[in-house]
Symmetry: C2
Subunit: 440 residues, 2 copies
């Protein structure tokens, strides 16, 4: 007998690790997102989690850089990816000659940010991204198509009361230029991006700290408070008569996106122009999106993204404009679960559990093999326990159909198949095809 | 115009990053493995890639520990997982009260080992694992079931000429005990595990270095050279009359596994007893498996595993015996690709490409939406290019069905659907249901 010091088995704070029933649910949601991405023809991509720091941080800076998991192995300075956009930039620059443009890719994978640990904040989390990258140019209608992807996903996930909010960064930038605040654009955007969280008064206060004249702050607030339907907002923007080329271009783009969203069969109630949406990240240059569950706006945006002029400018001279969206799945899952908007109800992925009560397992195992060959997820209970213990397992795992096979069943070549959800039992032939008929 | 210093976009050596066509193929293989695992009723698990070093390395040592990606973040000593077995041990010990036993789980995920970089060796690679964990005990028939999983996977992947080699560590250990070499067991196992690579003479030489008597080395070699069918080998083992309890128990287990493998419909030609299989890892205590593609034995084992008495002894006093297998998918993919045993032939996951040649995209987009609603992966070419450029895109991506929609098509409500593989074109109604009929 060896004596072994026990280590307490624990998982790091900020790292999600689920029990099987929740994992099944998580995977179902992930699968629905992936299937939707594929339905729109996006190609799969899987980049390494570890990259050279020099490559990964070619651009980074500020908050992001502080959160990076960065370390050396041997002589090499390495970092864990903190999003899927930078690896995409690297990939497209590196493989430019081997890709067909527009390059439409999806990537679903884990990313790492050493954020302050708190409930519902994750340091390892899944991002589910799609991007469409053009070679030199990319028509604005692609921006509209992405709203259709967002709409399809949230419908697939069982939601109907959600809103895709659309804005255009050029409108905001143009407005700031027109009031002589071009230099402060990024800072102003960061502030107004928070209006939902901190409120109008706090935004005014923060803007004042930038030494913006009171009349210009009023202009910004007046702009943010434009109300009405999407078309009414666009009309009001036109009436502002802001003589700035960036503003005008942004307004044209926004009109075009809104016009095209209709073509993609996204219902009126599921999207709107929202002039307060800015997306703090400074690489967006045109359309920006955020998506809210209307009754749970406090969750924040459940799917965000936007248009950028130049995906890979830190790696190549090629101009690669793109548009993309991202779903932070780990946090979304946590929040939906917390709000009871999703519920783990499958504890097993088996459709059928076969419980043998005989010495010779030939017939039960043969049946399991035949069911699997027909595509039925089938488990056979293989431990030599009393029937009661076996049924308890079936009950705990909530496998829908249970078949007990004893001497009687083998002699009479008939079985009882029990639907554990309804309690209904049917006596049928001991035959895979007959059983499959029962399942449908 | 900003001036930006360009960083060369590169990916770390030893990290696989595929072009889309190969990624599609890789994902297909991964999906087939996952589907097979699900068909046998294994539950999904997804543990973090980062763990506390103290937890992850509770046991480790030797070669493995040197290869670990280990670093600190803040004050915390962290490591990247180097396999999926240690995280499973931690998980089962941690969640013991919330799991149903036998606990059958699959996990497919990336693991990290800082091996010397060389062709075909990866530092980041996918492992595809299943394990069955018993609470206190686990019947030996489970060991036979796993051969059925291995068989199903390689059939699914299109192979028929492969052999699952089965052995039992107790037979080897008992043999060593019987010649007074119990203390050297681990070392002897490591040596004979290499017999395939280094040959018999080198094994004899290495064994001699352990100061094992010549007559005992002869016994080991004689044992390793036992020939015949699985049943003949078992008979010859019985005739050795080795009076050692461990040996006898191992032989009983091996007989039982071989007897049961037949029940699981694994054909005779796809498995055999192979007494040279040892699996160097010292946590195996009973059945061990390796799987070889018969015409490509130089690849090494494509699926390995075995039985262990005590999964989580470093974390809990509970006795948790288990049996599991693992496929190193990244290396397998590399090797199969290198040998031309698999071939990327899909460059797209879209089934249909719609090419609009009209100003008003309403009808083409509506058709794309309808096809997607029917589950067809559909892409619509949205950039305003000449027909020639659009067809070039279709050709490069090799999307199977192409539909061009111009004014004529809209006016006559008929389209040509072209099968790009056969070149065949059919004139049909501009209608999603009609098009879907064409696809089948």
């Amino acid at each position: 007998m060896r004596l072994i010091m026990k280590t307490e088995p624990r998982t790091l704070a900020g790292f999600m690790e689920l029990l099987p029933d929740e994992q099944i649910l998580f995977n179902q949601i992930k699968q629905k997102i992936e299937n939707t991405y594929k339905k729109f023809g996006f190609l799969p991509l899987d980049t390494p989690i570890i990259e050279l720091s020099e490559v990964l941080l070619a651009k980074a800076g500020g908050e992001t850089e502080k959160q990076i998991y960065r370390f050396t192995k041997g002589e090499t300075d390495l970092s864990l990816r903190f999003d899927l956009t930078v690896p995409l930039s690297k990939y497209v620059a590196k493989n430019y000659g081997n890709l067909s443009f527009p390059f439409r890719r999806y990537q679903i994978g884990k990313v790492y940010r050493g954020e302050k640990a708190q409930k519902g904040r994750y340091r390892e989390f899944y991002q589910c991204d799609i991007d469409i990258i053009g070679d030199g140019e990319l028509d604005i209608i692609n921006d509209a198509e992405l709203t259709s992807v967002i709409y399809t996903i949230f419908k697939e996930l069982g939601f109907s009361d959600f809103t895709i909010c659309i804005n255009n960064r050029k409108i905001l930038n143009g407005l700031f230029e027109s009031i002589g605040q071009k230099e402060n654009s990024t800072e102003i955007l960061r502030i107004i991006d928070k209006i939902d969280k901190i409120g109008k008064e706090a935004v005014i206060e923060e803007l004042a700290k930038l030494n913006i004249k009171k009349e210009n702050i009023e202009k910004i607030i007046e702009f943010l408070e434009i109300q009405g339907t999407s078309n009414e907002k666009i009309e009001k923007l036109e009436k502002l008569k802001i003589e700035n080329e960036t503003f005008k271009l942004g307004l044209e783009e926004l009109k075009e996106v809104v016009k095209n969203v209709k073509l993609f069969a996204v219902p009126e109630e599921n999207y709107k122009v929202d002039l307060t949406i800015a997306r703090g990240l400074d690489y967006y240059t045109g359309t920006v999106y955020e998506t809210f569950l209307n009754n749970y706006r406090e969750i924040g945006s459940v799917c965000s993204g936007g248009r950028y002029d130049n995906l890979a400018e830190y790696y190549t001279d090629k101009k690669l404009p793109g548009v993309g969206i991202s779903i932070g799945l780990t946090r979304l899952f946590y929040k939906l679960n917390e709000l009871n908007l999703i519920k783990a109800n499958k504890k097993s992925i088996s459709d059928v559990l076969i419980i043998p009560m005989v010495e010779n397992l030939e017939i039960p195992i043969k049946l399991a093999t035949e069911l699997r060959e027909e595509g039925i997820n089938t488990e056979i209970y293989l431990n030599n326990k009393k029937l009661k213990a076996k049924l308890k397992y079936a009950d705990k795992l909530k496998i829908k159909y249970v078949i007990v096979i004893g001497e009687d069943e083998i002699n009479t070549k008939t079985i009882n198949i029990k639907n554990m959800e309804t309690g209904k039992e049917n006596k049928i032939k001991l035959d895979a095809k007959q059983i499959i008929k029962e399942l449908n």
